[in-house]
């Protein structure tokens, strides 16, 4: 049971007229992870999320949430889901608390205590009794998260949650997503086009482009343990001589870059030192997700 995926997308396709927005996406989202959904604007992220929560019909394929098909058993499937789709729009003429009461009434077993607990968790404090009209974007985002986690969903779906948040707000969001994931075992599915954000937030990412899933990868496989060769830079005092000693590599200022496996790094260092070259620093140039992402989707315009 534990390793049964929380969400299973099976050959999901969305067609509107002659255009295909999402094409044959198959994806399993394992439980207890922060799972990223990455893609440029217009790649089909929001459309996929809309299908996952039943806002949009699925042209082909099916989506199962906790074992229930969103097509056949919408009410049972969606009971396990909390979501913010795009901006966290609330009833502006109601107070934050009334908004939460509103959504609490739509679900089973949410009492006043749980509402208070959630308000405390997202840090809205006394402002919860003010009209939503007076809230800043950051506070609306908090209220959005509060309504989404009210019923302790097993799956939390957030569409571009960091949009419009300041660095402080982004950090807080990241912290309580981690908290939800770790302490309450919630699976979090976050979409974004902000690559650096995803790197900090997610355990795994799926990358989508032009409606097609092009890669799924884990971000938490300790890079060092891999025998895979990585770009390694040596900062030295005599780069020209170092190039000659090593018989290879590329030079950029005082940095010599080579493609090396982990075990080769001390060896190369020893050779440089033996040749009387001073080594000031050794750095593994980890390609950021952004580089990988651009490499993968590189040059392909939005279709």
């Amino acid at each position: 049971m534990q390793h049964e995926p929380v969400v299973r997308l099976e050959g999901v396709t969305k067609k509107v007229g002659s255009r295909t927005l999402v094409e044959n996406v198959t994806l399993d989202i394992p439980p207890g992870q922060v799972f990223g959904f990455l893609g440029p604007n217009g790649a089909g992220k929001t459309t996929t999320i809309r299908m996952m929560v039943g806002l949009t019909s699925i042209s082909q394929g099916d989506i199962n949430i906790c074992g229930y098909s969103i097509k056949e058993h919408f009410e049972k499937a969606v009971a396990n889901v909390g979501a913010i789709v795009e901006n966290p729009e609330m009833y502006k003429f109601l107070t934050g608390y009334q908004n939460l009461r509103h959504f609490a009434r739509m679900m089973k077993g949410i009492d006043a205590k749980r509402i208070e607990e959630v308000v405390r968790l997202v840090g809205l404090g006394n402002r919860i009794h003010d009209k939503v009209r007076t809230y800043s974007l950051g506070m609306r985002q908090r209220l959005g998260v509060a309504q989404a986690i009210l019923h302790r969903p097993r799956l939390l779906i957030l569409d571009e949650p960091t949009n419009g948040l300041d660095p402080q707000g982004i950090r807080e969001l990241r912290d309580y997503l981690r908290h939800l994931c770790r302490d309450e075992g919630t699976t979090v599915f976050v979409s974004s086009h902000l690559l650096s954000e995803m790197e900090l937030m997610c355990d795994s990412v799926a990358i989508i482009q032009n409606g097609r899933l092009i890669d799924v990868r884990s971000l938490r496989n300790g890079n060092e343990s891999k025998a895979e060769a990585a770009e390694t830079g040596f900062t030295v005092d005599e780069p020209e001589r170092a190039l000659a000693v090593l018989e290879g590599g590329s030079r950029e200022g005082n940095v010599i870059t080579l493609k090396l496996a982990r075990d080769e790094i001390p060896e190369i260092n020893a050779r440089l030192v033996q040749a009387g070259i001073k080594v000031y620093g050794i750095q593994t140039v980890t390609r950021s997700l952004e580089d990988q992402f651009l490499e993968m989707t590189g040059g392909d315009p939005i279709g």
Partner: protein, 260 residues
């Protein structure tokens, strides 16, 4: 899954927590209170009875009542779309049919509240200025004033009920509050013109038109309606239109892809 009454309470909260709603109810109460005063000032020789005053008042204020109910009905679904809250509403463990039904029930409750407020205030204000008994020009001989007034208001409510159904359908189909308010009120005011343009006495098919039957008050005085129709026939025509309006609303709301 939860409690359906909770959904209706939610919809009620969204209606009555808005200042707008109380402004509308205030205007309605004020107009119903002030009209009998005006009637009492122009009434020479005590010709007007209590029930005359109530019906005269209602004949003006029922337009307001209909307009306000139409505004609430038109905003019910369209408002959720324009606020963007529809996305939060539809991802709860409730079928779309139940959500739409809860909205419709709240709208009908509001229209009933308006109508009751109208009747209560009009009767209260009229009773201050006019006496209950006496012959009336509006009410047929040998009829009780209260029963006639009740039936008169009931006819008005049927009219309102159909107009609200149109507004609710347009709101669901077009997701635009202004458009549905405008079109529904256009139908409310233009139906008299349509009814005389396509007179059932002249065109046989016109007796199946909605406009010919929305105003049932003719049956209070005569047994025969437009084009020789009976009350039963009129009600049947209204019922068919009503079912069509509701079916269209349900179908569209159920099938719609909610996109930005």
């Amino acid at each position: 899954m939860g409690n359906f009454l909770g959904l209706v309470r939610n919809e009620n909260m969204k209606i009555y927590r808005r200042v707008r709603t109380w402004v509308m109810l205030g205007i309605l109460a004020f107009c119903n209170a002030i009209l009998p005063v005006l009637f009492s000032m122009v009434d020479s020789g005590g010709q007007t009875t209590l029930w005359d005053s109530v019906m005269l008042t209602a004949s003006f204020t029922f337009y307001l009542c209909t307009i306000f109910s139409v505004i609430v009905a038109a905003d019910s679904v369209a408002g959720e779309f324009s606020w963007g809250t529809i996305k939060l509403l539809l991802i709860r463990p409730w079928s779309r049919s139940k959500i739409l039904l809860s909205k419709y029930i709240a709208v009908i409750l509001f229209s009933l509240l308006c109508t009751l407020l109208l009747a209560a205030v009009a009767m209260l204000a009229s009773s201050i200025f006019f006496a209950g008994g006496g012959e009336s020009s509006l009410i047929g001989p040998g009829e009780s004033g209260s029963a006639f007034t009740f039936r008169y208001l009931l006819c008005d409510y049927v009219n309102l009920f159909m107009t609200v159904a149109i507004a609710f359908m347009l709101s669901t189909v077009f997701r635009a509050g202004g458009l549905s308010i405008g079109l529904a009120l256009f139908i409310m005011f233009a139906k008299g013109i349509f009814a005389s343009l396509f007179n059932p006495d002249r065109y046989g098919w016109a007796k199946y038109l909605l406009f010919s039957h929305m105003d049932l008050s003719g049956y209070l005085k005569a047994d025969e309606g437009p084009g020789g129709a009976t009350l039963g026939f009129s009600l049947a025509v209204l019922a068919v239109y009503y079912i069509v309006f509701m079916a269209v609303s349900w179908y569209v709301f159920h099938k719609r892809d909610v996109a930005a």
